[in-house]
Symmetry: C2
Subunit: 207 residues, 2 copies
DNA sequence: CATTGTGAACGGGTTCACAGCA
DNA sequence: TGCTGTGAACCCGTTCACAATG
């Protein structure tokens, strides 16, 4: 039995589906058709059906998809039935905002540790965590078994800190610095740079 | 003369190229080959050549691309030769972090106004701006002519505020709330939700 | 000789259209 | 009737390969 791997582009849409379904659940809806979901997300209904059908037959003809059931399936597929502890490196303004953000709960994540190298910040409380010294990062992360990290340090130190994270056993990094990290294969890296998105939009803003 | 529109996926890579080239410039490099650029970004050299060739013949055989020249061209293509004033709505933790962020300079943007509805925040200084009352948003933005906005309000008010922004003349919104905005066609919308990226990564993190 | 620009080939993601089913 | 699941057709982005050139 050979499993054809699911295209990455399909996987990238699943979190979007989950987000939307959780919203629809809050609105009190019990089921959703591919047509309705597509309309909300600006995606074709056929696309959504095809995406979901890669993982099983989740829908019912004539009715659509049961929202609680589909949420459960997606959480399972995305590995967010359990809550992932994550570590945050960089306790600047952005790090503060993330550490205090309430939106991780119920979506599969929890900021469990915060690190920084600035002695003024170490020992201070940020959200539910106390900022720890980055020199202890490797040991602390190793023994905690945490494998997901958010990187909110200045660009100039992002590469070095990312390598430190990998040494500590981290295998998924969400990088907020506007540079391209170079890390071993097998390490998941995603980037978040608002300016890239702004520039993408200004392209279309005719003079 | 019929201009074939550039594929959106190509446009989305241009900001990445620009970011990288500006970094290479800081490193003191004067030219770059498609091979070298591709290696840095994890993209094929052919892809980069094809992307750039859509806009003109920027390279020189045997040498590659002149970095200052290519930066200039990309800034022109992306409309970031001038600096765009942008407005920020939502002066919470994330709004604060963005308003104080130094990285907009030299990449084409500047936070020019900040709005919030919380009377405790109105009048307070955030970065270089004073938080203004959201009831004045429509008028103030109209007369300023600003057309780009960052939306950092709670999910529950994001849709309403987004509509307000559109009424005020904004036509590009970077939305930080984890919901899908529904706005008129022609309005540019991009979303930033770190949890979508985290869930994308956890999919691949085998049990 | 290294590297660009590009037509052609390729691959794969999206849409179509419909059988099948509640 | 309404909607899913899916093979087939279609479309489009990527890669290939090479002529052209400084």
């Amino acid at each position: 039995m050979v499993k054809i791997p699911i295209p990455d582009i399909v996987v990238s849409r699943l979190p979007l589906y989950l987000q939307m379904l959780q919203l629809m659940q809050l609105e009190g809806k019990l089921s959703a058709s591919s047509k309705e979901m597509g309309k909300r997300l600006g995606i074709s209904a056929a696309q959504i059906r095809k995406d979901l059908s890669q993982f099983g037959e989740f829908g019912k003809q004539g009715t659509g998809y049961s929202i609680p059931f589909l949420i459960d399936q997606l959480r399972d597929i995305l590995n967010v039935k359990k809550t992932w502890d994550i570590i945050l490196v960089g306790a600047g303004d952005l790090g503060h905002a993330i550490a205090r953000y309430q939106g991780f709960t119920n979506r599969g994540f929890r900021v469990a540790m915060v690190f920084d190298s600035d002695s003024d910040k170490i020992g201070k409380k940020v959200g539910n965590c106390t900022v720890e010294d980055i020199v202890n990062l490797k040991q602390r992360v190793h023994e905690s078994g945490i494998r997901v990290a958010l990187l909110t340090v200045p660009s100039s130190s992002a590469q070095v800190v990312a390598e430190l994270l990998v040494q500590a056993g981290v295998c998924a990094i969400l990088n907020y610095a506007p540079i391209q990290l170079s890390l071993p294969p097998g390490i998941q890296v995603r980037n978040t740079d608002p300016i890239l998105q702004l520039q993408h939009m200004t392209y279309y803003m005719a003079r």
